[in-house]
Symmetry: C2
DNA sequence: CTTTAGCACTCAGGGAAAGAGAGTGCTAAA
DNA sequence: TTTAGCACTCTCTTTCCCTGAGTGCTAAAG
């Protein structure tokens, strides 16, 4: 059943008042905000209806009303006006993202920090490979008789390298042979496949050579594993303690442990959509039942997709959060897009 | 003035009781624990003396006593018995550290997590270079006409690499020339020096060459910067909320923000010593006035030194924490020592 | 001089009682 | 359908009192 326009307007006012007061809102305030065109008694009747229909809740008889998850949902879907970011705000976000490009890892962590400080809520970020990163090319550089450098280039254009200590000496002249062996037989395949091939050729090789190869394969396996893993970081959890709904240490502790330990369970937007809003019980995770999550996705080059979101109380300024969040997501996409073409000396790297 | 043996014994009992009850301890309990050899009245007299001398405090008249920082200090210096870790415990720690070796970064973070979960307090970890990491050797690998891979080897035996997109095309044949130029003139010097040299030679070079060089120098600068930076990570901050002294949201918030934002200010042991215990006001940071910190150092190969510590309430089981912490530090040192000699295929690297 | 028993005193913490205030629901009139 | 009026409900805060733990002091005993 559709709500009357007036009911919707009232619901909207309740949500917005509650969002910034964190206190149940009464009929009088609403009447006032509607310009005195109706009396508080009328509002009371409407409020009672809204409660009955499940859009509002009453902490106890004779308290004001607060929005229920269903009420927030309606608000988000229909009532929420697009929040316009001020020019300054947009600029500030983009300036913030304009930090020195460093590794992707640090980069997105910083974006998360920035977001968290903007919103005053904990934030989370992740970058996820699309699954099948492979090695495109191998290179071996001699160092001395018992060591060499292995350089890997992956099909998503990243480079990793590693110093290998050899258990058995391999003369420098042999390296090109190994290199071409690797490039011919170990490029473009998955880690499992690599291990299988290694076994296949094991008997035809000199032991020293085999040892070297297994060292390389084992390192490569780790690199691929890592490139494919989705690692979620959470930032700014301590912000929770500023919110009235988390003054209770137990509640705060529960959520914070969740954010610290099970961050993999935090929601992500669906494949197609750019943003997702989950209100209270719409979350699957037990620990998020009383919180809302707003999360957006962004692109990292062509092969990866990132994720950036905030966690807060259901009482959340969805319009503003959503607006800022898409600004972040767009900023990040732009940023990572640019780097692909190397306008600036970007900064892609790696480290031990 | 030296304390009598009995006073020391009493102080010791007060500390130990308070550590696990978190409640002021009274004369009666102490008398009991001393085996009934003296009456509670006697104890009261002694307690009064200890308060006067500043080793104990009284939250209010007619409450029991709690140790003051001075009292804890005496306890730590003289009274504390070496806590013997059970065999299981040692084994458990070492098993925990035996995780798959990955990058140093992730490795020490995991150690921190492990520590934090052992102690039930927040932990922090860092690895710090000894200051002057330099590039030992450069290598350039051709990719295509508008790109090449730069590989750096530093004097602490780490390898970093990066894909460079060239603004201007540089034919593959030229690369060896550039490489030797780099190795002859840009190796073994600081980042500032590198930039200076770059300026010096700028006029004698073709523009394309100059551009390439500056790209390399700028990347190298970043790498060196990062290799020399001490990055501190904190883990398990949410554990604070379980402690009675941090049930108050404001207090908890204050400390947690400090741990999240100013972790660089967390104490480190002095150059020579392996462990440091800082009790309450012995800390310089404002935010740590009511907490104690126990921190140990460990070695990462020959060039780096790591740091691992916990932050907790002044009421802390110093003996046990210190014992476990050195077990951690030793484990890490052993671990990183081993890798240097390449028993196992270690895993030193870098990414993206 | 040290230890002990005895006792009055202090203070935090918990619960009950009382008052204030906000906001409701209902009724009856416009 | 809206409004004014009013009694009622329920939370929150404050106050008060009581209890219990633990002290400090005094005076006597070792």
């Amino acid at each position: 059943m559709e709500l009357s326009d007036r009911k919707k307007q009232i619901l909207k006012l309740v949500v917005e008042d509650y969002v910034d007061s964190a206190e149940p809102v009464g009929s009088k305030v609403i009447a006032q905000q509607m310009g005195g065109s109706v009396s508080s008694a009328t509002i009371r009747n409407e409020l009672a209806d809204l409660v009955e229909q499940g859009y509002l809740e009453q902490p106890h008889t004779s308290a004001g009303r607060i929005p229920s998850p269903k009420g927030y949902r309606l608000y988000v879907n229909e009532l929420m006006e697009k929040h316009r970011l001020s020019l300054e705000e947009t600029r500030e976000i983009n300036r913030g993202l304009q930090m020195k490009m460093q590794e992707l890892d640090r980069m997105i962590t910083q974006a998360g920090q920035l977001l968290s400080s903007f919103e005053g809520y904990p934030a989370y970020v992740a970058a996820a490979g699309k699954g099948s990163v492979r090695v495109k090319r191998y290179e071996l550089l001699p160092v001395d008789e018992s060591g060499c450098i292995l350089v890997l280039m992956t099909n998503d254009e990243r480079v990793k390298s590693q110093l290998l200590h050899l258990q058995l000496k391999v003369p420098g002249e042999k390296l090109p042979v190994v290199t071409s062996l690797l490039n011919n037989h170990f490029a473009g395949i998955s880690a499992e496949e690599m291990n299988r091939r290694l076994m296949d050729v094991s008997e035809q090789l000199a032991p020293a050579m085999f040892l070297l190869l297994s060292q390389i394969v084992s390192y490569t396996t780790r690199v691929l594993e890592e490139a494919n893993r989705k690692e979620v970081r959470t930032v700014g959890a301590s912000q929770l303690l500023k919110l009235p709904e988390f003054r209770d240490a137990d509640k705060a502790h529960q959520l914070m442990s969740f954010l610290a330990e099970e961050k993999e369970a935090l929601p992500a937007p669906d494949e197609q959509s750019a943003m997702k809003i989950l209100i209270g019980p719409e979350n699957v995770s037990e620990a998020l039942q009383d919180t809302s999550v707003v999360v957006a996705s962004y692109d990292i080059g062509d092969n990866m997709r990132g994720l950036i979101g905030v966690v807060g109380p259901t009482r959340m300024d969805y319009a503003a959060v959503a607006a800022r969040l898409s600004c972040f997501a767009e900023g990040l996409t732009r940023m990572f897009g640019k780097r692909e073409h190397g306008e600036l000396p970007p900064g892609e790297e790696h480290e031990e």
